[in-house]
């Protein structure tokens, strides 16, 4: 393939990282019982936001978040009801991109800046996003944030090995694709000392995550919309 112009590089060859972690379909289980035991713990949030240079913008309308917490009635608005027990009402739930099987954000993106990888991860190409925010209207989980302004002044402690974003693009959780490629687990998983977050391969019936899903009762957010979320919650 003479891909680059008449220079001496005739064959442009690339390969995936050898130590990378792979899966047929990445998925995540969050054990909310463990989270509740250790409240108010936000180490996964801090780790994620620090590693990915997510700015801390005090002005709520311009807020950017990849992973955050909210109450049951907001995390599961169609499941919550007024007679639920106190345990459920008090518990805070970690929210992030669900890396849907049928992601509406991917369906609506006019440039394929948001796309689904073969391993199920819904990924963003920051070089291509035009900032039309159609994906934000389409996401039924509110998982996406837009850079309403230059985020850099709001990143106090940048991670020098990861880029920031610029104004005018949408961003969200990427399931730590950059870490998976290095053979590392997602930042939130690694940050949780209590093992509340487990990731694994949903496509492999013998995987740890499938065993957990068979053993425990789990919820997913807004399953009735047919998006097929890949984040499960043990209640």
């Amino acid at each position: 393939m003479g891909v680059l112009s008449k220079g001496e590089v005739k064959a442009y060859a690339v390969k995936p990282s050898e130590k990378g972690l792979t899966a047929g379909r990445w998925a995540m289980v969050i054990d909310t019982r463990v989270c509740r035991k250790h409240e108010p713990c936000e180490e996964c949030i801090h780790a994620c936001h620090h590693l990915h240079n997510v700015p801390q913008i005090p002005y709520k309308k311009h807020e950017i978040k990849w992973i955050w917490k909210d109450e049951f009635e907001h995390a599961f608005p169609d499941t919550a009801h007024e007679y639920a027990n106190e345990v459920l009402k008090d518990r805070e739930f970690l929210l992030l991109c669900n890396h849907c099987e049928h992601p509406p954000c991917v369906r609506v993106c006019p440039t394929k800046a948001t796309f689904k990888r073969e391993d199920g991860i819904v990924m963003m190409d920051m070089h291509r996003c035009i900032g039309c925010r159609f994906c934000m209207a389409a996401c039924p989980y509110g998982s996406r944030s837009f850079n309403w302004r230059d985020p850099r002044p709001f990143i106090k402690n940048p991670n020098p090995s990861y880029p920031t974003r610029m104004k005018g693009v949408v961003e969200k959780c990427t399931f730590c694709t950059e870490r998976l490629a290095e053979g590392k687990l997602p930042a939130c998983v690694e940050a949780c000392k209590h093992g509340a977050i487990i990731v694994g391969d949903l496509a492999d019936p013998h995987s740890e995550i499938n065993k957990i899903l068979r053993e425990y009762f789990t919820l997913r957010r807004k399953v009735h919309l047919g998006t097929g979320p890949s984040v499960f919650y043990i209640i």
Partner: protein, 386 residues
């Protein structure tokens, strides 16, 4: 024919320079937006589309409504619309241009706009919206300009333009259908997730567009010798009447589905817009104004005596234009974002720079319409048609 745009009365020049000046003011604020980012607007993480997208939606309707004069004239040979069709098509040209400009200012990475062409994505409704809007602009340029050129030459429009005219009719329906599909296909946005979205869009378009056209015609009539004729005006008033009734009827259908089914998520946005939700009620007065205006207009349009009163008609048109503008240009888009998918409420109001940028775009659109209308009038005058 373009030279006709360069010579005119002092009033014409004054209007042109005024609109150009307003456009420049808007452009100045747009430069500020480019510098700071879209944070200069009132939009937020929760209400991620606002005034710009709402104006875009409203103006697609105005553009599509040209078909309400084109269709009777070309398909049913309704001669009374003869002089009016060109004005309808020229209004469409101005409106589509404004639509495209509102998209340009709403994009976060303006210079990447052409990524939409570079990476065409047929699963995105925006891909089709780009095609139908630009196609519609082209069709109206071809049809309107050739028709006027025929008048200029004192001939009938050439045969080759006929397929374009016929194509422009279903095309007009397509632009507003695709625009409705931008919203109606999104899971989790219950206010928009309705099959009557496209019909409702068309109904509101076919009353607001012709009402705006009539208003413009009244203005033109005041300052020039142009007169479309009483019959044409009254016929167009009938179109507005039926479309307005259909629009209100379809809204009634929405109310029935949401409230008879009793499904809370289908009611939230409607409740927010008309009664407020958890004490948040910024849009409530606007929505009641919109529906009061549309209802009053509907009654007056239905009664033949008031509808056919040519002195009263402009007033009725103003009611329709303002009513549908609030309904679609504020309520429909913003209402869809409130409450957010987590059922939390963030309210929205456009900021001053946001309004100024929008006003600038409206000025650009009306500048185009002014110039095109001036050419049309001068051509008709030179032929002794008016």
């Amino acid at each position: 024919m373009l030279e006709k745009a360069l010579v005119g009365s002092k009033k014409y020049y004054a209007l042109v320079f005024f609109l150009a000046a307003v456009f420049l003011v808007g452009f100045f604020f747009f430069l500020k937006q480019l510098k700071f980012g879209l944070g200069i607007t009132g939009m937020s993480r929760d209400v991620s589309w606002g005034f710009y997208v709402a104006q875009f939606t409203y103006l697609v309707g105005v553009a599509a409504s040209a078909v309400m004069v084109v269709l009777p004239y070309y398909l049913h040979n309704y001669k009374d619309y003869g002089k009016l069709t060109i004005f309808g098509e020229f209004l469409a040209i101005g409106a589509v241009t404004m639509c495209l400009l509102f998209i340009v200012v709403d994009i976060g990475q303006t210079h990447r706009l052409f990524n939409v062409l570079l990476h065409p994505t047929p699963n995105s409704m925006l891909f089709y919206d780009m095609i139908v809007l630009n196609g519609y602009l082209l069709l109206n340029l071809i049809c309107g300009w050739t028709a006027l050129h025929a008048i200029y030459k004192g001939t009938k429009y050439p045969d080759w333009v006929k397929p374009f005219i016929y194509l422009s009719i279903p095309w007009a329906f397509s632009i507003h259908t695709v625009t409705a599909f931008l919203y109606a296909g999104l899971p989790g946005r219950h206010f928009w997730l309705t099959a009557v979205m496209a019909p409702r869009f068309l109904a509101s378009a076919f009353c607001s567009g012709p009402a705006l056209l009539l208003l413009l015609i009244y203005i033109v009539k005041t300052f020039t010798r142009f007169d479309p004729g009483e019959k044409a005006i009254k016929a167009l008033a009938k179109t507005i009447t039926y479309a307005l009734l259909a629009n209100l009827f379809l809204f009634g259908c929405e109310l029935f589905t949401a409230f008879y089914s009793g499904i809370p998520s289908h009611q939230f946005s409607i409740k927010y817009l008309f009664a407020g939700l958890h004490g948040h009620m910024k849009l409530v007065p606007w929505m009641w104004t919109a529906y009061a205006l549309m209802l009053i207009a509907a009654v007056l349009f239905v009664i033949p005596k008031t509808r056919n009163n040519l002195g009263l008609l402009p007033l009725l048109c103003i009611l329709v234009v303002i009513g549908t503008w609030i309904d679609k240009g504020m309520g429909l888009i913003i209402g869809g974002f409130i409450p957010n998918p987590l059922e939390r409420i963030t309210e929205y109001m456009p900021t001053f720079p946001e309004v100024m940028i929008s006003v600038g775009i409206y000025a650009a659109g009306f500048l185009i319409i002014t110039v095109l209308y001036k050419i049309a009038i001068s051509v008709m005058e030179s032929r002794g048609l008016i």
